[in-house]
Symmetry: D3
Subunit: 273 residues, 6 copies
């Protein structure tokens, strides 16, 4: 039976040995099934946080829980809107309950440190609520040493040099990166078979009014569903992003989880291998 | 970009073309993260229905939605109980809401025929409730032609000859198959790297009183977590099960979904390839 | 004021004296309002578990709480389906909440042992969830010695001799017993005024495909609503079933509730009196 | 099979014939399991509205659904408070959901006129909410001719002569009638075996401050749990109350349900028989 | 920065100093947005309990939380019904959750005594449920010394002399006071700019049958929406009501909250100033 | 009776005349009770959107609904965190339900255009969910022309010249404006009595790691609760902000609501009067 950082690929005894008494931290990738333009698959928001989690987990001795495959409703200014076919979203309460339930279960196993790795912007506040309610449940049960760190991997791209390399013509903000250079480059580096650069629609970055309209006005989203063009995406950019995110998140979680001792033998494999 | 029956691996335009106006049916695999003994990974209930769905989808021209990774609480007499580390379950309302939400979204895309493929016995009634509430929502929205078929793949193993081949010493019922010959054989045929036959604990089939106790009395479950021994599992049995299930479900869904015309070119690849 | 095992027929002081400090166990019958064919009343699933509870309670010194009169939605393969007029069902969450609330209240009274006696198959998982959530609430409140046993009385008919007597032409499974020989015989023995054997529709046992369809396809259920014919029902069979069930459940609950001492004077009255 | 106004005692065909196309109205008694002093059983709030419903149903050609056995939490100033052992109450949302679900089901059967007969004051607003939400559901489903009448049978005792007969020394308000002359007299008339007048505790009528305190201050409730003394209760008073209530409610529902034609042969049996 | 009894007008440090360790009690006014006839604004049920709270808070050293602006659905016999334009109501569960959440938060701040001042009759039971659930949450969290007093200010008008002054022609009950002399007089005394006595519709007191109908039958409510005429309202009556309510509630809360020491310098300003 | 744009200050007839048949749009201010440092009151997030709504409503002929006084839990990186005394927050589901319920009610009144004016960043996604669910309810009821615009007033400060005037030393982002120059200046312009500039704590702008930790680590928030210093706040800046926001939102809503005709006589009063 192969060795894996994925909890789903472990037998329960091996898992139990790792997490009992607050041993190994657990990482929970949270994604969505959401259109990402004509040129890319709809599982981007799942695959990317899973890829980051896998690499970080190997470095810090963490385990990776099965990813949440469905997320909160796509918003027009960050994901194009929830009116596209294919985008398949949950009510906020469902996202919240899922996270709350998982936290209670992990705590029962002995886990005490959880990293929630978000790959879909719109999930954020419903994850936060699920964590708040999960921790409330744990307090009721007498558990008050369970800690959660919530991360969106893109928040670790904040070095101006890196941003300059990724966006030589200027960075316009994460909001309109939906289906753009950032996500497409990562997919090219990790899952090139799920990208077809020939189908990229080159269009000007989306611009939106400083408010939101419901029901959504579909014409405000560029027709392909992307909010900026992925034309400038490349494998190299994807590798750079991945390296920077994995390194930054590794450091962050070591600090948050009090993992002062590195585990050098686990870190040696190249991130982008 | 590769061709795939998995919705997550499709771009939205391709998906939209397939499902609009009630075109392609969709299959939703539903699993669990649950201990399956010392010898097998905990994602068995996800991997197996996904494998069945993939093969059936290719035969009937259906698409496969991302699998639900977490399920309802393991029950002692069918899954060993929810007290094991690793088993990570949702409250019933969370399972129900997830299915309800997905049905509303698929209907919005144009889907009108859904197959829910269950891989975890305990999910059943919460799926049924999610379907009932989802169809109620659709009726409120004026949609009354959305049809759902709920299947547990093991229910298609009902030919006494097949059962005789699988259990030459006698079949004791699906209940105690948790982590036993049936699931282990399928995993050996499909994901041998997630099974370690050397770690199988050979024990007598579990016996339980004709009632259930809460909180669970752990001693009633065999210590490894399996309810019967997987010693007699084999790749060949796994292939037989898969062939029979896929054939039976293919026929069933063709009938349910009114798909009278086979699609021969799609069916040619061997099931167990 | 008459002596009674029914909590509803007791005054609060008498009840309080019986249950304080985890004294008497409580039995909760759970039924449904569901069609049971042309020949029988719709309260079968309430009356039968109440009758069993009353007899068991007298033997083990337990008390019987008011029965839940409405249950979860009838499923086609076990109850004919929820499309029949008369069948009046609750959403799953309502069943679950009811049980959860009652558990919290019984615990407040001092009760520590509860038997949930189910008379309607479809209730099962929603009862289980209500129990799980109720026990979670109790743990939050610092109560961890409340124990629940869930029983379906038919599960105590498992002696081949008994089954041979009931079904001389062969037993086809509990699933299709809805409105058939089993329930009708019990009603004949207990409430003959609610049965009209002249109205029994003799039909072949229902057969169903190995999956479920929603919305239900009404034609799959035999028109009278029963899943097998009650023609062979009799008072004698009803008495046999009742004797066997009451004896088996009495033993089971004595064991589960740690009631080693029988109470002979209470047991003497014949079960079927 | 006996003829009955109770839906539970009818077979589904007979029921369906009665209610289809908005035929017979349905009455739903709603009670509670609540302490009613040392001298009386705890099912008073169920038995009394059932008795009223049965008599009214015979007069107006209505049917009686199974009573709700558990109600909302007893309040100190109307029921003594929810701290007594025996009093077994539901959360408000559970009461509300139950009524909402039943309304949806009755409407599916063809019922269009429902009388909700409340026997437990504290239920009132949660019934109202369940009705409002149930009617909202029906509107979503395109049903807008379902009508509900909510009644508390004591509200039909408003003739000063009657009140004078019942309370020759002066009437102090329904609030403190909990377990007092009113309910006890009705029980004596209907279920004398569930009353023990020797155990009545004679005490001054309860007095409360003009506000409510939570958690309840138990000392404010008279120790026996009754809010006024039942010493003056009598069978005769019970018969008078029943006659007046049944007559008043019969008239009210005939008017509300548009039942202009009396059904004389059904009315002949004396109310209190 | 001005001194205020309103929490919203305080900075957090000042507030924290006041409430830590169960210091100052908090009053929570709860209202509604509800029609009150042609002659008066729709915020009556908010403004009046706020006014009472402010005056009481100054006398007992309490603080006043922001008022709930929306309440439970107007009932026909107490508020005219929820069918009027303008009346803007919440589902019961929303009212309940709001109060429950606020209780948890106040307890976190250190508050241990809460007065809930209701200005809208229909809120009552949903407030009670919110309090019950909030106190349950606190018990789970180990807090069992949080006390809540629920008051409706009109319940403090019970002196026959006062009632005689207010209703020289006889008092017909609080039910039909909706938009009548009581509320209008208070508004004249406190917010004359929100009353237009010229627009008062003089009509006979509303009379209703002894039951409730759903959907509401609009004709049963007097057309202006008031249940009795406000013609006899006056500033003087408003001042009298306010004085009596404030005095009575001050005494009640001092007693409930164990505030034996008056704070004379705070009490000197006239109530109606 | 004074003329007002506030619905609470209108009588129902006047309101009904304004909104029937989709007449006047309605604005709903949504705030929070949240600490804003030592120098400012805790109702800032309510007062500011109300002030903006009032001014915009006068310009576009809209009405202003009562503000929601409590909001979602303060987050550390935008509001300091929910651990401060005074900050009094609701669960996400409560915020969502409140908005959903209000939308259903406004639609019943005839309103068809709603502006939700948010004054508390953390509310955003729960408002969005409430709007989505409210619009879903309306679709079920056959109403599909109800439109909602969600605005956060600070999003209308995007002119670099204005930002330069407000932040001559550089703008560091809205995130850390909690209790800083922006909100304090607005309060100085509108409610100077609720600000005490002498109590402003001058501190460096808060810096946070690129992730969130739960339970919150209090030390990461500057001790006063503000995320940047309000020292540079001024009445003039407040007036500028208000003018710019009101002008921008007026234009935006005119466009969104299709209000092409200005109403000059209503616009003449100065914004900051």
């Amino acid at each position: 039976m192969k060795t894996s950082v994925f909890i789903g690929e472990m037998d329960w005894k091996t898992y139990a040995d790792r997490v009992s008494d607050g041993g190994a931290p657990v990482l929970l990738p949270v994604g969505a099934l959401e259109q990402h333009g004509h040129h890319m698959s709809m599982n981007v928001d799942v695959l990317l946080p899973v890829a980051v989690c896998e690499r970080v987990a190997k470095r810090i001795g963490a385990l990776v829980a099965p990813a949440l495959q469905y997320g909160y409703k796509s918003q027009q200014k960050s994901g194009g809107g929830n009116h596209f076919p294919g985008t398949t979203s949950l009510d906020g309460a469902t996202v919240t309950s899922t996270v709350r339930d998982i936290i209670r279960e992990l705590a029962r196993h002995g886990v005490r440190r959880l990293g929630v790795m978000n790959g879909h912007f719109e999930n954020t506040m419903f994850l936060v609520e699920g964590i708040d309610l999960g921790l409330r449940d744990l307090r009721y049960a007498g558990i008050d040493d369970f800690r959660v760190t919530v991360l969106s991997y893109w928040d670790f791209i904040n070095d101006p040099t890196v941003i300059g390399e990724l966006y030589p013509e200027g960075f316009l903000g994460w909001d309109i990166e939906h289906g753009g250079v950032f996500e497409t480059s990562l997919m090219l580096a990790l899952y090139p078979e799920l990208v077809d650069m020939d189908r990229v629609k080159d269009h000007a970055p989306a611009t939106f009014p400083p408010y939101d309209s419901f029901p959504v006005i579909p014409e405000r989203t560029p027709a392909p569903g992307t909010l900026s063009s992925a034309k400038a995406a490349s494998v190299e950019k994807g590798r750079l992003i991945l390296d920077v995110c994995v390194a930054g998140i590794t450091d962050a979680l070591r600090h948050e989880f009090g993992l002062v001792e590195p585990t050098p033998e686990l870190e040696r494999p190249a991130v982008t291998a």
